[in-house]
């Protein structure tokens, strides 16, 4: 017997997960086309279907009621707040960019293409669900949807040994850390008897008063961190990142570096904050009593960014370099988490948005250069500025933005993050981050130097197709625009927390 009200509420709630449903439909459609029309296996068809699916997934959002922090649906599995509302288009954009990048570069074979688009859509769906979830079970499921399918994405280029190795590392590392996190979930379920985050958070706050329970909470926090820091590629769970990023097809690397990483950070906000921090009203949060995880995270943040930046210096493979750079950026982003304030959360979201454009941009250029006859090694960038000025100028802008120089969006993002820690008077972290910016300059500039300051070693002409240029332009506009006038995004972000 299914209670009537279940059906009722499910039917109502289903409209809230319209985007995910549309994505599922798109997946099925692609699958059908792939199976039924084997002679139609043109890339462009799948691209159109996937992009249409992603674009369509965003449409229902504007039909839905105004988001509110306590508006939950589908038996409290999901919440409809501003973070959810804005994350969905964000991940849709991530998906679209990935698909387009796959389309314009030739790294994914035609024979793998439809599966690739399906997986991208499915991971996107997982990420969309993840940010909306307020239930441990749902979080776990979405987390694994995102995770397991991205292992596949990394290994999708089966002809390539490095792709396989990367996938193996990713799957073993990922399965282990998510298993660890799951064990942490189970412990918290034991404490609360519920999988609902709200219920658990009350129990945690209560339990943190008891000295007997503290050990459990510490273990739980650490196990949670294993999963979250793994997803965000932060120290000490970052080791998979450079290898996986290098081995994966470049569009997928770009995808991983913004999608799951962003999901990981949103999960910090969605999962970690409600459970282990209190006091949302005062715009400043506090760690639940007696558990000083912010200090640990601050340390993790500092080590992550320093390690990422230092290790990046010596890389000659651009994907690997950008992988370390993305580790460093995880460190920067953690500053926002550490600051335990609304400003910190806003800064994380803001940074994720600008990071999306600049980082995908950088990877896009890497992919385009590689597919236009170059390679991912820095050597093939020597003197490229003269041969492919448009792409190189774009690359330079993305890199300067990643450094955090005005007038590019990355600078504003960094200002947000710095502001967050300085607001909480964690000055040492701000200074460490500031000095890290300087270190990061060094390796980003190596690329710029190779492109513009050095003479070409080979004279092959690099032809970048128009579609690639348009895609780059689409990434450049926000990278530059948000650096000069970011008030609209600032307003949106301010409304979220």
């Amino acid at each position: 017997m299914i209670p009537e009200n279940f059906i009722q509420s499910n039917l109502q709630g289903i409209s809230f997960i319209g985007p995910e449903l549309i994505l599922t439909l798109a997946i099925l459609l692609i699958l059908l086309v792939g199976v039924l029309l084997p002679y139609w296996r043109h890339r462009i068809l799948f691209t159109i279907l996937a992009v249409a699916g992603l674009a369509g997934s965003v449409l229902p959002l504007w039909k839905l009621p105004q988001p509110a922090p306590d508006l939950t649906y589908l038996s409290n599995l999901f919440v409809w707040d501003w973070l959810t509302f804005l994350s969905k288009p964000f991940f849709a954009v991530v998906g679209v960019l990935t698909i387009l990048l796959t389309q314009v570069t030739g790294e994914i074979d035609n024979s793998e293409y439809s599966e690739c688009t399906i997986l991208v859509l499915a991971v996107t769906m997982g990420m969309m669900l993840l940010v909306a979830s307020t239930d441990l079970l749902m979080i776990y499921l979405a987390f694994e949807t995102m995770g397991i399918l991205s292992y596949l994405l990394v290994g999708i280029r089966a002809r390539d040994e490095r792709s396989g190795e990367a996938a193996l590392k990713y799957v073993l590392y990922g399965a282990f850390t998510s298993g660890t996190m799951l064990f942490g979930f189970s412990l918290l379920f034991g404490l609360a008897g519920s999988t609902d985050l709200l219920a658990i958070s009350q129990k945690v706050a209560f339990a943190s008063q008891h000295p007997q329970d503290r050990l459990l909470l510490i273990v739980a926090i650490l196990f949670f961190l294993a999963g979250l820091l793994f997803k965000t590629a932060s120290f000490p769970f970052h080791f998979w990142c450079p290898d996986v990023y290098e081995g994966a097809p470049t569009p997928i690397t770009a995808f991983l570096s913004v999608g799951p990483k962003a999901a990981g950070f949103v999960l910090f906000i969605r999962l970690f904050y409600p459970l282990f921090a209190t006091g949302h009203d005062a715009t400043i949060y506090e760690a639940v009593s007696g558990l000083d995880w912010p200090s640990i995270l601050a340390l993790v943040s500092a080590i992550t960014m320093t390690l990422g930046n230092l290790a990046a210096i010596h890389q000659n493979n651009l994907k690997r370099l950008l992988a370390y750079s993305s580790i460093a950026h995880a460190g920067y982003l953690l500053m926002g988490i550490v600051s335990l304030s609304d400003l910190g959360l806003r800064s994380v979201v803001f940074y994720l948005v600008v990071y999306l454009f600049m980082n995908v941009g950088a990877f896009a250029v890497v992919a385009m250069v590689a597919s236009a006859g170059g390679s991912e090694e820095i050597d093939s960038y020597r003197g490229l500025g003269a041969r492919a000025p448009y792409v190189c100028v774009a690359m330079a802008i993305f890199l300067f933005s990643l450094i955090g120089l005005p007038p590019f969006a990355g600078f504003v993002g960094k200002v947000y993050l710095f502001a967050a820690v300085i607001y909480k008077k964690i000055y040492w972290l701000a200074v460490v981050a500031a000095l890290n910016t300087v270190i990061s300059l060094y390796y980003y500039l190596r690329i710029v130097k190779a492109m513009f300051l050095e003479k070409p070693t080979e004279t092959i002409q690099i032809q970048v197709p128009l579609s690639s240029r348009v895609l780059l332009l689409a990434l450049l506009v926000p990278t530059l625009g948000l650096g000069i006038y970011w008030q609209p995004l600032a307003r949106v972000v301010s409304g979220m927390f």
Partner: protein, 107 residues
Amino acid sequence: MQYSLPSFLIVSSLLFCLGMYTVLTRRNAIGILMGIELVLNGAGLNFVAFSRFLEPSQTTNLLSGQIFTLFIIAVAAAEVAVALAIVLSLYSRMKSIDVEDFKNLRG
């Protein structure tokens, strides 16, 4: 041991830790996978045990623990399928599933 919650927790902790030990010490990729299965089973046992022993209340349904385990099994299935596919594909090329052999990506 008594039929009580701590007994089950001890078992699940042992499962978890033996799984972890397996993961750490195996050089065989499938061996590592087995360790991961142990870890997942440890978590699953926890959920079921808690759903049995905890105080039921009005607002929450302890059955969600069992449901959780159900989903863990489903996810584990997907995970194993994916992992094995990757392992087999690597094996077909490298003729090895020794993780020590996969260190081309480093530095």
